[in-house]
């Protein structure tokens, strides 16, 4: 049995181009944290699109022909396609071509401003409709010329998996993607600050979260200069270009971090009114939207997370 009253064991790592923070209360915390750290290294080697030998890179090189995938990659691609269908194509894991055309063709840490990047003209979205798979052989067939970028949902999935290794209660924060399991001591939940996109040190709100995932998408982060002005990594599949949504940041709370990531991205791409409607209609998800003028909108049920 864990003892939340004692101080948790903490480990800070660098992975997925992000700072990763693990908090564990289990009596065998060190063993669990070691295992989580090893798993994270293996995850990155398998799912990074910036590592040419990763399984994801090999899948993308195999577009147009069947590729036998590991169970994890198979499940993730299927989930990504299902989310594409659920969002009506607003979420699309096959915008890799557009992302690369916008200039995001290498790890963001090594990305310099790309004067030639146009910010449009990439291989269009909606490729998810043509992704085929065979459950029996666990093979995936991407349409020729189409690549997958699992991006945020792979990170969200990794955060969910890491949390499952650390026992209860625990907290995992992978570059802002959070999974809060249980609650620390008598607190109403883990207190999660929502960073203000216009003042990095300030929090817009503090959420009390228990057994939920939290994720934030922003067009102000991971941006670079291109020929047509400032570009960023959030591609709108409907245009094949970096989103021009009036929402600059969306934070979502959902049952899992993967789903929180999905909802945050979709709400941002949809724009203020439809994005808020998406959050209000989504079962088990709530969110907070920041508009370009700095104003903040909350979904109807977010108050349940405000202590």
């Amino acid at each position: 049995m864990t003892s939340p009253s004692q101080a948790p064991s903490k480990r800070d790592l660098r992975a997925m181009n992000s700072e990763v923070e693990l908090l564990c209360f289990a009596p065998d915390a060190e063993r669990r944290l070691d295992r989580a750290e090893r798993w994270l290294a293996a995850f990155e080697a398998r799912f990074s699109r910036f590592q040419p030998l990763s399984e994801l890179s090999r899948l993308n090189r195999a577009s147009g022909r069947p590729f036998k995938a590991s169970p994890a990659l198979f499940a993730l691609v299927k989930t990504a396609v299902a989310l594409g269908r659920r969002s009506g194509g607003v979420f699309d894991p096959t915008v890799l071509g557009a992302l690369q055309a916008a200039g995001y063709d290498r790890s963001f840490e090594t990305l310099t401003d790309r004067g030639s990047a146009q910010g449009r003209g990439g291989a269009g979205g909606q490729g998810w409709r043509r992704v085929a798979w065979d459950q029996k052989t666990r093979s995936i067939c991407l349409p020729a010329g189409v690549g997958i970028d699992l991006g945020g949902i792979a990170k969200g999935w990794a955060v969910d998996r890491l949390a499952s290794m650390l026992g209860m209660p625990c907290l995992v924060n992978g570059g802002g993607d959070i999974r809060a399991v249980g609650r620390p001591g008598d607190a109403p939940g883990w207190r999660v600050g929502v960073a203000d996109p216009f003042a990095a040190e300030r929090d817009l709100a503090v959420l009390a979260v228990e057994d939920r995932g939290v994720a934030t998408s922003s067009s102000l982060h991971r941006s670079w200069a291109g020929a047509a002005g400032r570009l960023h990594h959030l591609i709108d599949p409907r245009t094949g270009a970096p989103s021009r949504s009036d929402v600059v940041q969306c934070t979502a709370v959902a049952a899992t971090t993967l789903l929180a990531d999905y909802h945050a991205k979709v709400a941002l791409l949809l724009g203020a009114a439809p994005g808020l409607a998406h959050l209000n209609d989504a079962t088990g998800a709530e969110g907070l939207i920041v508009l370009a003028d700095g104003s903040v909108c909350r979904s109807r049920g977010l108050a349940a997370y405000l202590p």
Binding site: V192, G193, A195, P197, D203, L220
Partner: protein
């Protein structure tokens, strides 16, 4: 005879009282301080910000500093 004497005394007292009131009213009207107050223009609206701290200039309103709430972690764009 006695009745007539009473009536003229009554009239004299009334006239004296009225005269006294008239004199008092004239004195009040003649007082320059009272004249100054009654004829003064309405005072300008009071600027209470300056009224309570006349030595300070007004500064633009700044957002109220909210107390820093302790958090376990933060979510931000990644």
């Amino acid at each position: 005879m006695k009745l007539r004497k009473h009536s003229s005394l009554k009239a004299l007292i009334t006239a004296a009282a009225a005269g006294l009131l008239f004199v008092l009213f004239a004195l009040v009207r003649a007082d320059p301080r009272i004249e100054a107050e009654s004829g003064a223009a309405d005072p300008a609206p009071v600027d209470y910000d300056r009224f309570f701290s006349p030595g300070q200039e007004r500064t633009p309103a700044t957002p109220q500093a909210t107390p820093v709430e302790r958090t376990d972690t933060r979510t931000r764009a990644s």
